[in-house]
Amino acid sequence: MLRFRTIIMATVALVFVSQIQTAVAFAEIDQQWRPQLSEKILLLPPKHMNDAIEQDFSKSGLAQNMTSVETQLSDQVSAIDQLKQNLSRYTGQEQIEARHQIIVGKKTYIELLGQQIDLKRERLHTKLGLLKRLDRNLSRDTAQQKTASDVAQLQADAKSRIEGISSKLREQIALETLTKETNFSKAFDKNMAAISALKDAIANHRMQSRLGLDSGATKADMLRQLMLDTEADLALIEIETELLGHMAHLLSLDAMALAEDVAAQSFTVATKAQIYSSPSDAVLLFTQ
């Protein structure tokens, strides 16, 4: 009985530990951005593609992580500013401590900024990967559509010829005494008139120009433009990293200056150095 109870306890403990591990694992996974967008995004108007990608990103754990880091950065900047403003009020050891706090704050700020830059880089790499995947799919679809486009072109040519002569054919059929106008013909005319009216309304709709549907930019062009923009953002990230390096360099110089000041102060306190007599000091004793 005791053995059975031990086994149950061990099982419960094991399940509990495994659940904790799973929760930790999920927390780690949630920090990532795994785009949930499918190729259906390509059906959207070109101008809305980027919005859809950004919306997908905003729902990810990576976006939440970046927002959290951004808040910490903002808090850190406020704290450093506050310390800097109050620095003149302190003297002696207090001022040294305040300067030390500023340096610690700046160090934390640089660490957070480095973290933020890494997250930004991760976001841009994921976005670039998504855009490249969409571009590959679009190229594959375009290759398939090219084969079908021959038939579509032939059909379009036939349509334009038939539309040009259709009314004359209808007149001829109407003149025949035995043949009546068919139901299809009547319904077709009615529907075509309705389609024409709707097409006019679509062409004149104010959202038509805003969406850029007829601006001439194809989906492939838009994807290439988005990829170029993302590459440009990645290049900016590299510059930001360099900027961070300079900030860290300046901070290390500040820290050295503080260390020197602390050492100098300690030196001033400690050095009540013994001044030993020199023969030159006693020259007057002998000359006078």
Binding site: A148, V151, L154, Q155, A158, K159, K168, L169, L178, T182
Partner: protein, 127 residues
């Protein structure tokens, strides 16, 4: 087991209905065109009956040709039959092409398969 068999049967029937519900506009046009040409070449009927049949065919062909050019399913077709039919406008769209040519369907069809009066007159009898 019986239930599974019935379910499979029902599924097959529904699937078959779904497939048969897809209209093949080009096949319908080709069928009607074949009937028109059959009437044109039918030597057992008199001129008036042929004229009546062709007039009825002309109205039906006019509708079917409009259906074919507006059939969006053809755009995604890779069938050589569809491509061949659309490439031969003069023979596929008989009703519209004959009006464009200002000729009757019969004259237009004979001319485009190489049986015009001039061509027949120019031919010679050979053993």
């Amino acid at each position: 087991m019986k239930k599974i068999t019935l379910a499979c049967l029902a599924f097959t029937i529904v699937g078959g209905m779904a497939v048969s519900a897809v209209a093949d506009s080009l096949k319908n046009l080709e069928r009607e065109r074949a009937l028109a040409i059959a009437a044109l070449l039918d030597s057992t009927i008199d001129i008036e009956a042929r004229w009546n049949k062709l007039n009825l065919s002309k109205a039906r062909l006019a509708d079917l040709e409009v259906m074919v050019i507006n059939d969006k399913s053809l755009k995604n077709s890779y069938s050589p039959r569809v491509k061949h039919a659309l490439s031969n406008y003069e023979l596929t769209f008989l009703a519209h092409a004959s009006v464009e040519d200002s000729k009757s369907i019969a004259a237009h069809w004979f001319e485009h398969i190489g049986l015009s009066t001039d061509q027949l007159m120019a031919s010679r009898l050979a053993k």
